[in-house]
Amino acid sequence: MQSSGNVTSQTRIARLKEVVIGRALLSDSFVLYLSVAYFVVLWVFLPRLGSARNLSNLSSNIWPLLVLVIGQMFVLIVGGIDLSQTSIMAITSVCGALMMTSGLDPELFAANPLWGVFIGEQGGPAGGSVAAAPVGIAFMLAIGTLIGSANGLAVARLKMPPFMVTLVSMFFFSGLAIFITRSENVRNLPDAFLAVGQNYLGRVPTARGPVGLVPYSFFAALALAVAAWFVLARTILGRWLYAVGMNRRAATVSGVPTDRVIVWAYAVSGFCAALGSVLYSSRLGAGRPTLGENVLLDIIGAAVIGGISLFGGKGKVRWAFYGVLFFVLLDSSLYMLNLKFYTVNIVKGVVILVAALLDVLRNRIRLGWAPTGRAVTA
């Protein structure tokens, strides 16, 4: 009797472990649960974490980063990496700003190679017109997509390592952005453009004045997320992307146009980098040749935390969102805890490392439970 009781309790413990590990650790929403738990625990001690102003800050910090991480995810899914997103942000920021600015200081810009040809004291070609903002944004997105496509072509057709291609792009375009502007920031951007990064839909009154509710950047990120989800989950291109990331040779043998798929992935990444540039540039109120210089760690970190694999074949839009959510929450909370700035960097590094280790652990458990393995698709 006693032995059968022990067996039952052992079975229960085993089942409990399976539920805890299986439902939580292996769940697609593991990072979301973690974020919610982290938020709730800290909120008890730091009530300001849940204040309207802080939530508004979190919201405004999440969307531009999410746009970049979604772009990076496409490249990671095909087993690549895009280090050039930051320089695409810089070059599109200055090109778009020069296109739509309504005035430039000759003292700062007269030595510019484009002075008198593309730009002048009256600003850029679209400066001052009602269409300045849409023209500027379209110009930025076109340049970003073009650079991304060029990266993709080099990776797919020339069979160059993605790390090397995008590293060279990163150096080249960040240098070009500084060369074009002579390291000057471009100001006098149209109000309609600035509204994209600075305005909110709805406001909540607080003791320190009204706080924005939903930033306009949310709508840009939402539209992109829905489109990305649709492509990955509902189209043949999405299946091809995962297939290429899981095994490029097998995909080629199966008739997947792998080169075209890779070019697509990098083009999307370039497009997203340019869209991120729109959101960050408008938020800061200027075209900046150094925009995004330090954001690469955040992009890769958020992607890894979300569970998007660095080895390819694995990634979902909502994972990207969960990763960004946790990363931004972590960043904000660490500052709210008033840790020293170097401690914040150390902790962020450790968290990314732990996330990568957890990814390995989850893969091992998953493979142990389902030896045949399967692609994790959107």
Binding site: Y38, V41, L42, F45, L46, R48, S51, R53, N54, N57, S60, N61, E107, L108, I178, R182, S183, E184, N185, R187, R208, G209, Y280, R283, L284, G285, A286, R288, T290, L291, G292, E293, N294, V295, D331, S332, S333, L334, Y335, M336, L337, N338, L339, K340, F341, Y342, V347, V350, V351, V354, L357, L358, V360, L361, R364, I365
Partner: protein, 339 residues
Amino acid sequence: MNMRKLLLIVALLGAFGVVVGGLSCSRRGSSEDQLTICFGFQDLETEFWVAGHKAITETLRAKGIRVLERNANQDANRQLEQIRDAIAQEVNGIIIIPQDGESAVTIVGEANRAGIPIAVFNRPPSDRSNPALVIVADNEKIADEAVAYMAKVAREKGKGRKWKPLIVVGDLGDRNAVARRKGFFNVMERNPDLFETPIEVPSKWDPATTLANLEAALQANPDVDFLFTSSDFLYPQIKAVLEPLGKWKKIDEPGHVILGGLDGDSTAYTLMKEGYVDATGVQDLFFEANTIMEALLTAIEVGQKTPENWMEDPGFALTQENMAERADEMWGYRVLHDE
């Protein structure tokens, strides 16, 4: 299985450590009625910023004020997020060293909307559209005075010959760099008989860029004999370029390049004392730090939410002529002697 357990334990311990450590840090020494000031700086790359950071944080803490330090690592967007974060924590005041003049305008606007007084230290906003307390050195005048002394030396030594001047220019997105360049060119324009067309070497306030650009400029123009650096923190790079060319000479040695700079750090003081540098423009770092802190604390005390006052540090030029009398007014000298 052991590996899994180990990883889980590491992950959980890490998370627990962050939360407990952070909470204990955040709760230590803070009380509801304690004044809290956020000090956001763009980086601590040069001696000037390190000394400024030390002066501000130590003085505020000595007054019993809680200081939230935020390092943006030269990222304007991160600095904006950090200041928004500090506003959410309902700090009583903000002091920033902005990444550049443009981002300063945006950040000041955020503080204005939240009704939190903000002070900008040493690097002014690019326009006055948003009210702030600003302290900045009169960079044009200080540079003018330092270069004027160098020109005087050149005239005495040259006996009618023309000199080949070179200026190491700062990041022209920074108004301080623009003003220093202007001060240099004022002297060039006043002395057309003394100088050939100046060579401009961009530094972007970056030592590696300075080294590369200066090397290239001196390869192309080996006859440079008059050099002004827009910041003293670039002297190590200047020495690294001049020394192999046989141009790193003391004032009384033949082939000496007339040298000058601006900031007033301890390297400039040491080089002046050793006789390599002729003059340096001095910003009064401690005056600037004290003035801006006092202005901010006064604004907080009287309940001003968007105070506006642009204050100026007149500074001065320390030269080989007045060094004996005025060296102790130089912040670099004081930093050196404190150490």
